[in-house]
Structure formats: structure tokens, C-alpha cells
């Protein structure tokens, strides 16, 4: 497989994955670009691995977790169009039924937990594969998922 073939077939999936990780299309683009530049420069090493796609997904995930640790929160995004106006919720119950509430709660999770959720509930990967991508034990994946779900559940209960 050449780099071009890989990019042709996998780039959009990776981009969607990055959107789920970062929750923001611009940060997702940055993340994918940084990763794919390294992929292209080290293509021989990537293609030598038994599953290039998993290898790249792992690179991207690690980059998301480690990359400029802590600085993303301080980063200001400058772009032409203003953010979509969020109507002020009349009360908490109202905001709880807001379809995107859970999406915004995701952004408060630690990155590693969020990555675990994305791999589990968006990519539908089995625990073993998630563990491989995150470079941790299967048990860690499970506890990470249950901790993240508990956090989200607590948020839900709180606003109800």
C-alpha cells in the first residue's frame, strides 16, 4: 500500500475520529495534519507494521493525549464565523434535554477517558484493541470506561 492509497481511503475516517476526540473540527484538522505529516515522512515504518491503520490510529490517539499537554484549554480559536448562538436555557432540566448536552460534557473528561469512550462507542472496538491503541491493560480500559460513564451519569443526575 502506498501513502496515497492509504490517505485516499482512510483520511476521512481518521478525520471523523479526530472530531470525536477533540470535539472541534479545527482542532481535529490540526491533529490529523500533524499525525499524517509524520505518517507520510515515516511511511516505510508505518507500512511495515502489520496493520497500518491501527498503527496510525494509535499515533493519532497518543498525539491527542500527549500533544502540548494542557495547552489546548488555553488555546483560543480564531475563525471567521462566530460560534452558533446557544440559547440560554430556561432551567437545568431544559438544558438536559438539549441534544448536545452530552457532547459538551464529554469535553470535561480527561483526554484518555474521552479517547476510550470514542474508541468504544464510536469506533465500536473491542476492549483488547482499545487497550492496544492506548498502550494499557484491558482492565485499565474497562475501569476507564466505567469511570467516564459514571462521571457522565452524575452530570445527568445533577441536572435532573
Amino acid at each position: 500500500m502506498t501513502y496515497e492509497e492509504f490517505a485516499d481511503t482512510r483520511l476521512s475516517a481518521l478525520l471523523r475520529y479526530a472530531v470525536m476526540l477533540t470535539g472541534d473540527p479545527h482542532q481535529a484538522q490540526d491533529l490529523v495534519q500533524d499525525t499524517m505529516v509524520r505518517v507520510q515522512l515515516n511511511w516505510r515504518r508505518v507500512v511495515r507494521s502489520e496493520a497500518p491503520e491501527r498503527y496510525v490510529r494509535r499515533m493519532l490517539t497518543n498525539q491527542y493525549i500527549d500533544w502540548r499537554r494542557g495547552s489546548w484549554a488555553r488555546r483560543v480559536l480564531l475563525r471567521g464565523e462566530p460560534d452558533e448562538a446557544v440559547p440560554a436555557p430556561s432551567d437545568h432540566a431544559q438544558s438536559a434535554v438539549d441534544r448536545d448536552q452530552i457532547w459538551s460534557w464529554l469535553s470535561r473528561l480527561p483526554r484518555r477517558q474521552r479517547a476510550t469512550l470514542v474508541l468504544r462507542y464510536y469506533e465500536d472496538l473491542p476492549d483488547a484493541e482499545i487497550a492496544e491503541i492506548l498502550g494499557c491493560a484491558v482492565g485499565t480500559v474497562r475501569s476507564s470506561i466505567s469511570r467516564a460513564l459514571a462521571t457522565l451519569r452524575a452530570e445527568t443526575v445533577e441536572v435532573h
Partner: protein
């Protein structure tokens, strides 16, 4: 169920994903730029890896200065793997209280893809191993004392630098004026690109701005200049870095240091003290 909500939330936001076309182009652009830069650096990097390998390949060498005889040992250990930190010291004229005015730390990463030259200002206040604080360049004299023992001075400065930067130093070399002169001539001159013209306070020689190839005497002359430079010693350090980069490139082009015949002819000059990194038991003169 929160799991189902999550799946639904992810699925809903798939539309956020931007088109891949512009991204693909941006990736190619950045990769292209980086590949070009890597190519440029690789030249220097290979040269340095070569020198580092050669340095470590030698056993320690420090000919006793009064009886110059440039003897070099055959490589005794295999080429090193892993990252390397090499300390290069340029010392001033002989005599009591010799100072290391140029301190260059060269980092060679494990993959040998590039090199990092870090110049450490000689005026940096440091704690000396014997106690007390003084400038970095004094650490050499503090080690060597009134003697002309390059190895002792090197060991002292190495200890100070290792402590200062917090990295182990695997190998190193001390360059005196004569050694620099001979080494420069041995590789057929060293290319140096100056951003501004420099006029020597010692010889009144003018080094024009731009690239030029310097012979041994000229190189030493340039490396000594400090007074007429805008940033003084800092500019001199920059020139030392430029010289070092040029020297390494020449060494690679010529393969001088790796050529056994070249060594036989005394290419490694007197006063070129090399630390093999193997314990550095002292100025072991080898055969």
C-alpha cells in the same frame, strides 16, 4: 441509557468533520517542507555521527604537550548506539590558567537523523566541583591548575556542564589553537558562512560577510575574535558553532577521521584530547 446517548451524540456530530481535500493538500505541503529540511540536516547529522563514532572508537588520547607525538589508537570498541552527547571545548593559548572559552555541547539522537549544537556561554556563573562559584570558562583552569593538563581541565568542565545541563556526557574533545589549525588544514579548510564581516583585532585580517573557506590559521584567527563583534563573546560562540558545523561537514566529505591511513599520518594533531567516554581514566596515551 447513557451508552446509547453517547452513540447517538457521536453519530450526530459526524457532520462536523470538515472536507478532506484541503487537509490533504496541507499535509503534503508540510511534509514536503519538512523533508527538504531533513535532507539538509542529514548532511550535518551524518557527519557528526561519524565524528562521534570515531571519537568513541578511539581510546583516550592526550599526548604530553612538551613531547608532541600524535599517536592514535585503533578503534577498540564498536560504534556506539543510542543517543550521544559530545562535549567540544575550545581552549585559549597555552600558559597557566588556560580557559575553555568555547563550550559546545553536541547532541546526537539515537536515530542519527540530525544533530543539535548547543553553545554554552563561557561567562555563565556555575558552581565549581572544588567549591565556590565562578564563570564556566574558569572551570577548565580550575581543573587543570597551573599545569597544561588538558585532560584534567576537560574532566572538570565536563563535570560542571553535565551538572548544569543535567545530561550525561558520553564523549568529548579539547581543541587548542595548534590543534584547530592542524585539524582545519588536514581537512583542506573549513567552510564558514558569516552573517556580517569580521575584522581581526589580532591580525587585522578581514573576514567578509558570506561564505568562505578558511585555512587553519585563518580559522583560529576568526575563532578568537570577540572585541569587534556586536554581541562579543556570544557572537564568538555563534562563529564557533558555524565553524564546528563546517568542520564536521568537511570531515564527512573527506572521511579523514575514519581513514586509518590518515591517522597514521598524524592527522589527529597534538593537543587534540579525546575522551572516549569509557570511564575516562585520564590522559591515557595510547599506542
Amino acid at each position: 441509557m447513557i451508552e446509547d446517548d453517547l452513540r447517538a451524540a457521536f453519530a450526530r456530530h459526524e457532520t462536523l468533520a470538515p472536507p478532506t481535500g484541503p487537509l490533504r493538500a496541507a499535509i503534503d505541503r508540510v511534509a514536503h517542507r519538512r523533508r527538504r529540511r531533513r535532507l539538509r540536516l542529514r548532511l550535518g547529522g551524518t557527519a557528526l555521527a561519524l565524528v562521534a563514532a570515531t571519537l568513541v572508537g578511539f581510546t583516550a588520547l592526550a599526548p604530553p604537550p612538551p613531547a608532541p607525538s600524535g599517536q592514535v589508537a585503533a578503534p577498540t570498541s564498536p560504534a556506539p548506539t543510542g543517543a550521544l552527547n559530545v562535549l567540544l571545548l575550545g581552549v585559549d593559548a597555552a600558559g597557566g590558567g588556560r580557559r575553555a572559552d568555547s563550550v559546545l555541547l553536541v547532541h546526537v539522537p539515537a536515530d542519527r537523523s540530525r544533530l543539535y549544537l548547543v553553545s554554552i556561554p563561557r561567562d555563565l556563573p556555575v558552581s565549581l566541583p572544588g567549591g565556590g562559584r565562578d564563570k564556566l570558562n574558569v572551570s577548565f583552569a580550575a581543573g587543570a591548575g597551573r599545569t597544561v593538563d588538558l585532560a584534567a581541565g576537560y574532566r572538570n568542565t565536563r563535570q560542571v556542564v553535565a551538572q548544569l545541563v543535567g545530561v550525561p556526557i558520553d564523549a568529548g574533545a579539547v581543541l587548542t589553537y595548534p590543534a584547530t589549525r592542524e585539524l582545519t588544514d588536514a581537512v583542506g579548510g573549513v567552510p564558514v558562512c558569516l552573517p556580517a564581516a569580521v575584522r581581526s583585532v589580532h591580525t587585522d585580517r578581514l573576514f567578509p560577510a558570506g561564505c568562505q573557506r578558511l585555512g587553519g590559521a585563518a580559522a583560529v584567527d576568526l575563532l578568537r575574535q570577540r572585541y569587534r563583534l556586536r554581541d562579543g563573546a556570544l557572537d564568538r560562540d555563534r562563529n564557533a558553532g558555524r565553524y564546528a558545523a563546517g568542520l564536521l561537514r568537511r570531515i564527512q566529505e573527506q572521511g579523514v577521521l575514519t581513514d586509518p591511513a590518515g591517522r597514521q599520518q598524524g592527522v589527529i594533531p597534538v593537543g587534540y584530547m579525546i575522551d572516549s567516554g569509557a570511564g575516562t581514566a585520564g590522559p591515557a596515551t595510547s599506542t
